[in-house]
Symmetry: C2
DNA sequence: TCACAGCCTTGACCGAGATCAAGAAAGTCG
DNA sequence: CGACTTTCTTGATCTCGGTCAAGGCTGTGA
């Protein structure tokens, strides 16, 4: 598997698949050399916990491949997912050693980890990492606020349609899986994970997916595979303005 | 009124009430001089719109006094508040000229505005503004994610208790309004604004406030004034862990 | 002082989504 | 291939919060 290869082989930043989108995107060659010295790869299996709330994290990291989730849990067990980490997304907060959410691998995940101390001091001395991190954090804040609208005001059907359109859009921008106008993609999340993301129960998620299928908005060849014959039709179901939609 | 005074009198940064908490907190004297040159004050009356989604903003700004709200609106009128701007909070995004939410003055508001172009170039050249802005943005992201938990998973009663405890906590840290163990504070928001913040209807907000009053968790001498006889009791109603609670 | 507007409360009813429960589909391991 | 687990679907029922409606409180302005 690629994961084990990566863990041994110390991939050169220059060859990194997320090089131009991650926190290191703006770095010059000399800055990359600095980063090379403080980095190491770790991989996690699907379902594995990367960090628990309250854990001391000795590193910050970029997601190289796979998907991880951030979630909050109330003491009685109710949980709410508060973020998805996709390839190139950054995990951890410079200046804070203690994790404030649970981080879980939704799929197999490879992370490019930076030892905390050297990374933090690099943040102070060279501007490019901090500038890029600010940009990424502002984008995440926008996404979080868009999600607040979804959680607070959208119906279950709109929530599902919104999630599907986000995943579809993201997949369309990376993989190019479309067959004659139809978008095709795999769901990287279980029904339960979707429920936790959308503030619903897994039963409601299942019912609404069935309803969208019944109404011809989507097809599902398998339970984890989605075909969208008409993307605009899906967008209509999200409740968003015709033009805008999500920024993610 | 103070607002009109501020608008005329160009207050010195050194005397600014939010000097040590705002985006300029880390600035040295020479950097403050730069800021003085690009800044101007504006005041807004309660209820006034500061920016509409889609507006071109020629400035970014710090809230000096008062409270402003950020909100998203769906085309059919459903609205969700996605942030509160309190004194020292920052409004606008360097590098983006177009507002992405509606900004409204909840109370009378005074803002310290910075002309966009000079501010952006200062961000590129001096690190202190960007560093502080990163820190503030990370805090806002934490707050937004905490709010996602509230919106997605809390009951109406827990939502109200959470909002009250946040306002109480914030008031306690600034004003020192407590009389023999009881916290006393004013609600800066209408029932409708609370509803928009909490993802509820104003009727539900009203009912839950009445319920908390009936149960002795709060007293309300007037409709906008809250007395909390036992803060721990209020915290129990928020659904959060006993210790933690909100970071805001 | 009265009328009006804005804000808030309360009641009656309804419905979207939660809960409880059963079983089907699909993958995994002996 | 069959037992078992995990994941997903579907049905029956319940409930929290939304919707609709009426009226109360407070302040402002004629």
């Amino acid at each position: 598997m690629i994961t084990s290869e990566l863990e041994n082989l110390n991939v050169e930043c220059a060859d990194c698949p997320i090089r131009h989108r991650a926190v290191c995107a703006r770095c010059e060659t000399d800055e990359l050399e600095l980063l090379e010295q403080m980095k190491f790869y770790r991989s996690f299996e699907a379902g594995q916990t990367i960090a628990w709330t309250g854990d001391r994290m000795e590193f910050v990291a970029s997601v190289v491949s796979g998907i991880a989730t951030l979630s909050h849990t109330l003491e009685d067990g109710r949980t709410q997912m508060v973020g998805l980490l996709l390839p190139s997304d950054f995990m951890g907060r410079p200046g804070r050693e203690i994790a404030t959410y649970d981080v879980t691998a939704a799929t197999d995940v490879v992370m490019c980890c930076f030892r905390r101390r050297p990374f933090e001091s690099m943040m102070m001395t060279t501007p490019h990492v901090a500038q890029r991190l600010l940009e990424m954090t502002l984008d995440e804040l926008d996404a979080a606020r868009e999600w607040m609208l979804l959680l607070g005001r959208k119906t279950a059907r709109e929530k599902i349609a919104s999630l599907l359109s986000i995943i579809a859009r993201r997949d369309a921008s990376l993989n190019l899986a479309r067959s004659e106008g139809s978008l095709v993609f795999d769901l990287p999340l279980t029904r339960e994970a979707m429920a936790d993301y959308l503030g619903l129960t897994l039963e409601t998620v299942s019912r609404q997916i069935s309803a969208l299928k019944r109404d011809g908005v989507i097809l599902l060849p398998t339970k984890r595979q989605i075909v969208v014959p008409d993307f605009d039709r899906l967008l209509e179901e999200t409740g968003d303005d015709a033009d805008g939609g999500f920024l993610v």
